[in-house]
């Protein structure tokens, strides 16, 4: 577990990924179990864990570690 990065910990645990997975490799295209069902469950999980409510725009961009991180800190991805 990476105590300095709770988002990374959450994604590793949620998708059952190896602990040494690099954040840039956590993308929907590269994680086979990241389907539409997992997407819904992930949103609920993120909202629970980080006490946030995503807006419609943010939800459409939650496709990778980077995009989720940006949505959580309120900065849109470029």
């Amino acid at each position: 577990m990476n105590n300095n990065d709770p988002l990374l910990d959450l994604l590793l645990e949620f998708f059952d990924l190896p602990a040494d997975t690099r954040p840039e490799d956590i993308r929907q295209q590269l994680v086979p179990s990241w389907d539409s069902l997992a997407m819904v469950q992930l949103i609920t999980e993120l909202e629970r864990k980080f006490v946030v409510n995503f807006d419609i725009d943010a939800i459409q961009r939650l496709r990778s570690y980077d995009e989720i991180r940006d949505a959580l800190v309120g900065e849109p991805s470029p």
Binding site: P6, L7, L10, E13, F14, D16, S36, L37, V40, Q41, I43, T44, E45, E47, R48, K49, F50, V51, V52, N53, F54, I56, I59, R69, L72, V73
Partner: protein, 630 residues
Amino acid sequence: MALGAPILTLTQVKTVNLIRQWINSFPDVQKDAILQAFESASLPKIRRALRLLEELGQEQRGPGLDVELLSTYNLEPLLPVLSLAMNCLPSRACPRLAPLDSIETHMAQPARSHAQGVFGARMIIWRIEEVLPEALYPFSHGFPKRLAASVDQLLDRIERVVTLHRRNSPGTPLFLSTMPLPLNLANPVAAAQHCAGPYASVSRVNQKIYEVAGRGVGVHVLDLASWAAFEGETYADAMVDFLARQPLSAKGQVSFALFIARCLRPLIVPRRKVLALDLDNTLWGGVVGEDGVNGLKLGHEFPGNVHLRIQRELLELRHRGVLLVLLSKNNEADARQPFESLLGMILKWTDFAVRKINWNHKHENLREAARELGLGLDSFAFLDDSDYEREQMRQVMPEVLILNHSSDPLQTLRALWETDAFDSLVVTEEDRGRHRDYTFREAREVEGHKDDLEVFLKSLEMEAAMEEVGPSNVERVVTMLGKTNQFNLTTHRHSRGHVETMLASPGSIALALRLRDKFGDQGIIAVLLAVRGDNAATLVIDSFLVSCRALGRGVEDALWAAMLRRALRQDVQRIEAAYIPTAKNSIVAGLYDRLGLRRIGHNSGSTCYLLEPVTFVESPPWIALMNENQ
């Protein structure tokens, strides 16, 4: 980014407390994982808890439970938490989802049949947003007349669904959900102003569901309308609803799953039959032996009103069939005084089936009460304001469920409100008359000392009616199969579906004995189920049981004779039977020997018996048979 775990709603806290009791027999690793999963509502933790449960043996995990979920919204994301909640009952639960919006299509097929020891259930979970969307926009849909007509159509649909289920899957319990008020509704003030408005329309639909379930035909209510009202709007998440047609928030998902599990629990876990309780600082405030009757607090002022409410709750339990037992360290004369002269007393001295008022240990008195009632310790719940008494009971008798956890009377009252120990889906006439039956039994036992046994039994003026098991009594038969521990030769806990399958098998004999005596109608108190063996001339006794309310009267002999009479008419040549010992049924260890069967061997701990040739035996002369051709 902010980090935080959600604070559980009060409803969830209460339910998680119940879960602790449900999973009490699990090892600590599983217990901790389950509690963490529910408290965090985290999906990875839920998955982990499920994985850990898979590691347990079948016996630790409880009976199989096959639940079919038919829904108008998307429950797929909730399957892990639903599965975990149902596994905590405890059971080896396997929730299955039917395709979305396919209620009638799916119900046209028979529900899956289940092996012995596996319970089945079907749940229909629907909401107004899908089944009556017009109600959200009444003025766009011809309010009031056309909207009222749409509601009428939905009421007809509910009837059709129940008919479909009864026709195709009569043995499977059906749970119909009620419908929460729509949360996302513009102009809620106007919505409440007309009897054909949105809120009244939802109310009509729910009323129909309550009415259908009240007919007592294996249809039960999953009251999601009440659940949603208790939860408040935190249960919902409009964004996820739009995204995936799944309306529940993370908090809502846990609460929803636990609520569903609690509603299923009475199918597989019998309720506690007895509540043993204290007097002082429970039924009234104060200690009668020290404060005197005039110093006790009971009435409409605080804090006497808390004790008054406790008494009302206890009386309601007694009328629902829970026996009350008084355990008090007092002088009996002191203890009786408030029942005779304290103003405002709701409970009467005679509302207690057994009273143990002395200076003995309470666990000793409880054991004595259990013996007198003919019930096991695991039929008992215990309520006491003393930390010492509760702790001693917990240590000496771990089978007894301790309901309250502090000396505070309000906490005692909350314990009565929140416990699931007395949950049941059906309250039968037998339940409602149980206190009376035990009181009569006490009277009978007193009379029984007057004369020899047979003279006494004759004096009871017993009349037995043999009923073929069928739609009118199968509910009671299934209840007895689920609850009877002592006089039960095989302790087969069959589901209603399994019993109905047996009834449908050619050559089966299924009898229920209804007993009446000079004290009143005792209801169905004995059951015998038998099916044909591999050879058509062989009858195999599947279940043979007598309610503990009717032990020692010879009703088992009358029922056995009635079965033999039918078997001989059907040319049965041999009867096979087995005694399967449990921790509680040693009372019937020698029954088949007494009835003249021959021991032919042992099989996995059970003793196998054979009766060949089959010959008729007389019914006991002290029981009149009402509908038997001799």
